[in-house]
């Protein structure tokens, strides 16, 4: 399947402008940053510095990756289906690859930017940033691919939100509240829980089995999302 860079560039610019003008999805990035700011200046002064930075990073990163990651692509795709702009694009000779890749790239860029701001606000040491970028990119790309799948499966924005909420909660709650055996286990097998595991293990210089397992979890989710996306895309390809 070929991609025209000219079309892809036009789609990307349009999707980026639409993201900025659409408060329903631009809030998904602003909200985690706002929460981090709120906790930093309201709760933070009452905690030790090391506790604060870890807490802010976990909270912000999980919120941003789960909210932005899940909401941006799926909501945008569902809206295009609902408002029939997707049909107009297809009839204007835009390929599915160009359409989805441009939305995925917008989501990756926006989520990455949000994650970077959260890292800077959290007060984590700057030498951790390369590992942070690697881990956060892996985790967010995985969630974004699942978001693309949700968008593909949804007929409209209403049915999209029915799928978005449980996925967001599944990715957010276990790693955020990993107390108790069940939640800890779930946290280890969700992509964002594995993402945090990768970050903290690499930062502490641990390259052993648990790090490899965490990488494997993220890649397994990503592979499953890509395969399911391909399967459902073929199924829905033609009207009849």
């Amino acid at each position: 399947m070929s991609i025209s860079m000219r079309k892809f560039s036009a789609l990307y610019k349009k999707d980026l402008m639409d993201f900025i003008k659409n408060p329903a999805i631009s809030a998904s990035v602003l909200l985690p940053v706002a929460f981090v700011l709120l906790y930093k200046y309201v709760v933070g002064p009452n905690l030790a510095k090391e506790e604060v930075s870890g807490f802010l990073l976990n909270l912000g990163l999980l919120m941003n990756c789960s909210m932005s990651g899940v909401l941006i692509v799926s909501t945008s795709v569902a809206e295009e289906k609902e408002k029939f702009t997707l049909r107009t694009l297809i009839l204007s000779n835009v390929s599915a690859m160009e359409f989805f890749l441009s939305k995925i790239l917008v989501a990756v860029c926006v989520t990455f930017l949000g994650n970077l701001v959260i890292f800077l606000l959290s007060g984590e040491p700057m030498e951790h940033i390369p590992v942070y970028i690697l881990a956060s990119l892996l985790g967010s790309c995985c969630v974004i691919m699942i978001s693309a799948l949700i968008g593909l499966l949804s007929r409209d924005q209403m049915s999209c939100s029915v799928l978005q909420i449980p996925v967001m909660l599944l990715f957010l709650i276990p790693p955020a509240m990993a107390s108790g055996a069940v939640l800890r286990f779930l946290a280890r097998i969700t992509p964002l829980g594995a993402m945090l595991q990768v970050y903290y293990n690499l930062v502490q210089g641990k390259f052993g089995g648990s790090t490899v397992l965490a990488f494997a979890v993220i890649l397994a989710w990503l592979a499953a999302a890509v395969l399911l996306f391909g399967y459902f895309y073929k199924k829905k390809n033609i009207d009849n």
Binding site: R6, K7, A10, K13, N22, K83, F84, R87, L91, N93
Partner: protein, 280 residues
């Protein structure tokens, strides 16, 4: 001269109660071909088959001289499509929408200005699409399908739900486009629109093509064999189209008693009723 559109014995099953039944017709370059029928006749389904949104069960379809299975993405750069459900981006202005589609189609920005002027939207180009009236939105969507000056244009009910003034403007634009060489295939349930705009039409009923030809040919084929005369006494008289009838009318004319003389051709809606026994 190769046909722009060619269908032969095309069949499609679409659910248990509906199908396209051995559809055959062709559209030559430079024509405006109208596909008429009531709601549910299969017009949009046929349009979707021609634009590869649906797959045929059997038969042959050729677009731009190629078998439809062999029509490539590059060929679609020569085609414009206005579907009954096409939409543009509501958070963008009319101009921003057209600039976006111009970038997609690799069309210069000067084309956007020209197209906006042709559809009478240049003065409203900075209006957000969500604030536009239905007529303005429809013209904007039509403009987006015309930006790249397609050789072949598919229009699915382009004036549905619009007011007469807007319809007239769209018709003017389509005639101009056709004079510039674009072949137009349009579906409509508006018989008057088909009569005014189309060089040839096909009438569809329950998935079957029941009549075809130019509007005038169809009207003459199904014309009543009588002439209606309105006299100065406001009386309507009918005479057969023969020597006797002609003499009677001549007498009335010589007496100065004729107000109007009509040849009683049916309109397309009456032809449809004649052919199907049901109302449009």
């Amino acid at each position: 001269m190769k046909e722009m559109i060619y269908l032969e014995d095309v069949c499609l099953d679409f659910g248990s109660s509906f199908s396209l039944d051995h559809l055959s017709f062709q559209v030559m370059p430079g024509e405006v071909f109208g596909f008429l029928g009531p709601s549910g006749a299969g017009k949009t389904t046929t349009m979707k088959l021609l634009t590869k949104q649906l797959l045929k069960k059997s038969g042959q379809i050729r677009i731009l001289g190629k078998e439809i299975e062999k029509v490539e993405r590059a060929d679609y750069e020569r085609i414009g499509i206005l579907s009954d459900t096409s939409g543009l981006y509501e958070r963008m202005t009319i101009e921003e929408n057209l600039n976006f589609f111009a970038a997609l189609r690799n069309v210069p920005k000067s084309s956007v200005r020209d197209t906006l002027e042709n559809v009478r939207l240049y003065d409203q180009r900075k209006t957000l699409l969500k604030k536009c009236s239905k007529g303005m939105k429809q013209r904007a969507v039509l403009a987006a399908s015309l930006l790249h000056k397609p050789e072949l244009l598919f229009l699915d009910e382009p004036t549905s739900g619009l007011d007469p003034a807007t319809i007239q403007e769209i018709h003017k634009m389509l005639r101009l486009l056709n004079r510039q060489g674009t072949t137009i295939f349009l579906t409509t349930h508006n018989m008057e629109e088909a009569d005014k705009l189309c060089g040839r039409i096909g009438i569809l009923h329950q998935g079957k093509l029941i009549a075809g030809g130019s509007p005038q040919e169809l009207k003459l084929e199904y014309a009543r064999d009588e002439i209606e005369v309105l006299t100065t006494d406001r009386e309507t008289l009918k005479y057969p189209k023969n020597r006797e009838g002609g003499e009677r009318i001549r007498e009335l004319l010589e007496q100065g008693r004729c107000l109007t003389v009509h040849s009683q051709e049916p309109n397309l809606e009456e032809i449809f009723l004649l052919l199907t026994g049901r109302e449009f």
